[in-house]
């Protein structure tokens, strides 16, 4: 039943033989109407040179992947289509080849709740991966036209993004017109990062590392040097000359006299570097404020949101190949993603008991070695439940993803985190004094405004920073009690 092959003919140069097929169609809409069982799709008649066919093809694959029947079905081209090959399962045109290639996918589809999983985007992607076996990885594809530089083709099509078709076309260079792109866009990579943090997919090999704008998370950055005083980019390099005879130092052009250097102060001819003159320093002259400086300031200018940030403040994005995990497979088989949100990376997030032990040890250390300082951060998020019930699960999850991602950017690799109850998180900041902790606290608090603004939620984040007095060390293991006290204190403070 399921191993039927249907053709979608998008052009006139057909390759697949009619005998090999169980049906042939000219429009995606008709196919989606008539075929209600997941089957094999062959897209035929393509020409790489024809831009119209390319965008039609794109549209077609997108419609299949968004449909509830074909989102995980095997799709083939009959001939290679360059970069577009990343969107399909392969290039085949003979029935036997197609069946042997698709058999694994089809057999895996037998025992999973295809229709049920279609309701949830995460499950759709997991199902897609599940059907393609353990070895199949989602690999990042460098797309020069995409503001995120890298995209995961399958995730891109299956995921729930706003203004899908236009965006897609824009990203993959099918149309070039940027004015078509409207609304909020989100990268497919962001989605996979959040699925990975939930443990549903896992990384398999690092492919690349890029730097993206800390403000809008896109990667089209222009590294530009500018005047450190007035920030103007209009400045020029001035070479200086130091006259040995009289000690005069001035820009080169003050010395230039025809094809010679003559010192404007003592009139001596400067002929030989090292014996008549030298170059004390290479400096820059700003043409807009007239200031001189030695090192221009380098900023990364985001071409999308025009936010200028220092290179060291850019967000570093690691691009991995992703494969499905056991947890992900279980979710596919059951048709349920049990959603537990974790704001922190798994390897730094520990169970409360372990967290208390670390804290106790740090208190002892601090009592013994006074220079060993650390502070403790309590983060409480208010308004999450209300948002979940009004905005729905998907938006809620997106919000949590966003929040988690932004908190991760603020927290260091050496910081240890735990969660002691609903919406309450603790962070140990080793080698950070109260002042440093408070700076971080205020930054985390500000995140509420950013995420609320974006998704229209009324979220509040309360953060309090503590520095534990050394007297506590004498009282033995006290961490658990301490955290309780502090949590109560946080509410009092409010």
């Amino acid at each position: 039943m399921r191993n039927k092959i249907y053709r979608l003919a998008l052009g006139s140069e057909l390759i697949a033989l009619p005998d090999d097929l169980d049906g042939s169609y000219n429009s995606v809409d008709t196919m989606l109407e008539e075929i209600k069982v997941p089957s094999i799709i062959v897209i035929d008649g393509l020409r790489l040179e024809d831009d119209n066919i390319l965008s039609e093809t794109f549209e077609a694959i997108y419609q299949f992947r968004r449909s509830s029947v074909f989102y995980a079905a095997p799709i083939y081209f009959t001939k290679s289509m360059g970069n577009m090959n990343a969107f399909v399962d392969g290039i085949e045109s003979k029935r036997a080849d197609i069946l042997s290639s698709a058999s694994e996918i089809l057999s895996k589809m037998e025992n999973i709740p295809i229709e049920k999983n279609a309701a949830n985007d995460d499950l759709r992607l997991l199902t897609f991966l599940f059907c393609r076996g353990d070895g199949h990885a989602l690999s990042p594809l460098a797309v020069a036209a995409s503001p995120w530089i890298y995209e995961y083709p399958a995730a891109f099509l299956i995921g729930n993004f706003a203004d899908k078709t236009i965006q897609t076309a824009f990203h993959f260079g099918v149309f070039e017109d940027e004015t078509l792109v409207k609304g909020m866009m989100k990268s497919s990579a962001d989605w996979l990062v959040s699925l990975c943090s939930q443990g549903l997919i896992g990384t398999m090999g690092l492919v690349d590392r890029i730097r993206i704008c800390a403000h809008c998370h896109t990667g089209n950055l222009n590294y530009i040097d500018s005047c450190p005083i007035c920030k103007s980019i209009d400045f020029e390099k001035k070479r200086m000359i130091h006259c040995f005879t009289c000690g005069h130092v001035a820009p080169e052009e003050n010395f230039k006299n025809g094809m010679m250097f003559i010192c404007p102060r003592c009139n001596s001819a400067l002929r030989h570097i090292g014996s008549d003159y030298d170059r004390p320093v290479e400096s820059y002259l700003c043409n807009s404020c007239g200031e001189r400086f030695i090192d221009p300031e380098v900023k990364a200018d985001c071409l999308k949101c025009r936010h200028k940030s220092a290179p060291e403040d850019l967000v570093i994005r690691q691009l991995y190949n992703y494969v499905i995990t056991t947890k992900g497979k279980r979710a596919v088989q059951l048709g349920i993603v049990d959603f537990e949100f974790s704001l922190f990376d798994d390897n730094r997030n520990v169970v409360p008991l372990y967290f208390y032990q670390i804290l106790d040890w740090l208190v002892q250390m601090k009592a013994r070695y006074t220079d060993e300082d650390f502070s403790l951060l309590c983060i409480k998020i208010v308004g999450l439940e209300a948002f979940e019930s009004t905005a729905g699960m998907t938006k809620f999850k997106n919000l949590i993803d966003e929040l988690a991602m932004r908190i991760r950017e603020l927290v260091r690799l050496t910081d240890i985190t735990t969660s002691t109850g609903a919406n309450t998180f603790w962070v140990i900041l080793p080698r950070t004094n109260q002042k440093g902790g408070e700076i971080l606290a205020s930054r985390v608090e500000k995140l509420a405004d950013i995420v609320s603004l974006k998704d229209g939620a009324n979220i509040k984040i309360q953060v309090k920073c503590f520095s534990i007095p050394t007297e506590y060390a004498k009282r033995g293991p006290v961490a658990e009690m301490l955290l309780g006290e502090y949590e109560a204190a946080l509410w009092d403070v409010r």
């Binding site: 094809m259 250097f261 570097i273 014996s275």
Partner: protein
């Protein structure tokens, strides 16, 4: 004191005029031997006329037309280490709007690691300058200075080739001065002016600074006016690339600088075309000279020893037919000053030692010495005032001039020893310019 002077004057009169009056020719000639040196007077006058001629022409020189040909500097490096930075920096400093390519040819790069490192370290720095580029050419096995130059020539892209040593540095108008002569199509090469960088370090270096000024700066300026430049220094020569390609680069063997000059002159004669080699006293290269007398004498043995070897190699070319009369006379004059005079002076000094009349010896030497000192003083003074671009520095050595004839005498005796060593001991095989396995294969 008066008595001594009287006695010397009396002796001079007795020993020179009396035998001549008595037609005692043999003793007369022997006695007058040192005055062969007076032959140099017309030569000196000739040079002074040339300098004045140059000065007048230089004052009339117009503004350069805005054509700046591309230039390739072939820097032959060996074990100079970080000293090559001086060379590269001074090329970077050139006030020249045209393109300058720097080719650092490192000979024996596998053993001269410091030189190689210094060269590599400058690559990105130079390539950051507009209109300047640097290419490092490592020759892993040592092959000598000639193969370095020819390799550099192979990679050179400039219309003008400047060949230089890895430890010299240049005035910042050198390239501009050197290239302007090539506007004249008949000019095939420009000889640059070598000056001493470490002149103020030791007495020996100061003497050499005076010697360089007289024998290069002043003399060649004048010779150039009569198209009689007889040597393009190996440490600093500027060539039209097309012409170098015509000669197929430098010839294997030692003293390649003199060799290529003679080959250029032969080419002039063979092709019956008008060609010129110009010396420009303003295209200046500073170089370090040996600071101790021992090292100085050793260096000269190496240099002068090559002289008869080159003459021997080109023995068939030294004729007015090949060289043209002016160059032929120039060549004879140079053979005279380089080979004959050292010999005569040497033999005569030995003869003098066998004379018992000490007053006579002192008197003669004193006269010769005074003559030389006076001649040098006049010559040096006039040429510094007319030519030097560093008058203060050159005039600060004026007090050394009275000792200068002694220095030159020692140098000439040394040259004579070198020539003897070359003729009887095959000295040029000892050259430091190339390894023995390269020299062994050379024809000469």
């Amino acid at each position: 004191m008066n008595n001594l002077l009287n006695s010397i004057a009396y002796n001079l009169y007795n020993l020179t005029i009396i035998p001549l009056l008595n037609a005692d020719f043999i003793s007369g000639i022997l006695i007058l031997m040192p005055f062969v040196l007076f032959l140099e007077i017309p030569w000196i006058l000739f040079i002074l006329i040339g300098i004045i001629k140059y000065k007048l022409a230089r004052m009339k020189e117009g503004i350069r037309r805005p054509h700046f040909p591309t230039v390739s500097c072939i820097v032959t490096c060996y074990n100079e280490g970080r000293d090559i930075e001086k060379t590269v920096f001074s090329i970077l400093e050139q006030i020249y709007p045209g393109m300058i390519q720097i080719l650092l040819v490192v000979d024996g790069a596998s053993i001269n690691i410091d030189t190689m490192k210094a060269a590599k370290a400058m690559e990105s720095m130079v390539n950051g300058h507009s209109n300047r580029s640097l290419l490092v050419l490592p020759k892993w096995q040592r092959g000598g200075v000639v193969s370095s130059s020819n390799l550099g020539l192979h990679f050179a892209t400039g219309e003008i080739i400047i060949k230089m040593d890895g430890d010299s540095s240049f005035d910042n108008n050198m390239v501009e001065r050197a290239t302007r002569h090539f506007e004249d199509d008949t000019v095939v090469a420009v000889s640059g002016c070598l000056r001493v960088r470490n002149a103020d370090k030791t007495l020996c270096a100061a003497f050499q600074a005076i010697e360089y000024f007289i024998s290069i700066h002043a003399s060649k300026t004048a010779l150039s006016e009569f198209n009689m430049v007889n040597n393009i220094s190996g440490a600093f020569g500027i060539f039209r690339r097309d012409f170098l390609n015509l000669l197929e680069g430098w010839d294997a063997g030692t003293a390649e600088d003199l060799d290529i000059t003679i080959r250029i002159k032969n080419y002039f004669a063979n092709s019956r075309k008008k060609f010129r080699i110009v010396f420009d006293p303003e295209a200046i290269c500073l170089t370090d000279v040996p600071e101790s007398f021992a090292k100085f004498l050793k260096q000269r043995i190496r240099w002068e020893g090559d002289y008869p070897f080159i003459l021997f190699k080109h023995r068939y070319s030294i004729s007015p037919g090949f060289l043209g009369w002016a160059n032929f006379i120039g060549m004879l004059m140079s053979i005279f000053t380089n080979m004959v005079i050292p010999g005569l002076v040497f033999i005569y000094t030995i003869w003098l030692l066998f004379q018992n009349r000490i007053e006579f010896v002192i008197a003669l030497l004193l006269v010769v010495y005074l003559f030389y000192a006076l001649m040098l003083f006049v010559f040096y003074g006039i040429s510094v005032l007319l030519l030097s671009e560093r008058k203060d520095s050159d005039l600060s050595r004026l007090h050394l001039l009275p000792l200068m004839p002694l220095f030159l005498f020692i140098a000439k005796v040394n040259s004579f020893v070198a020539i003897l060593w070359e003729l009887f001991g095959k000295g040029h095989r000892d050259s430091s310019m190339a390894p023995w396995w390269v020299l062994k294969k050379n024809k000469f």
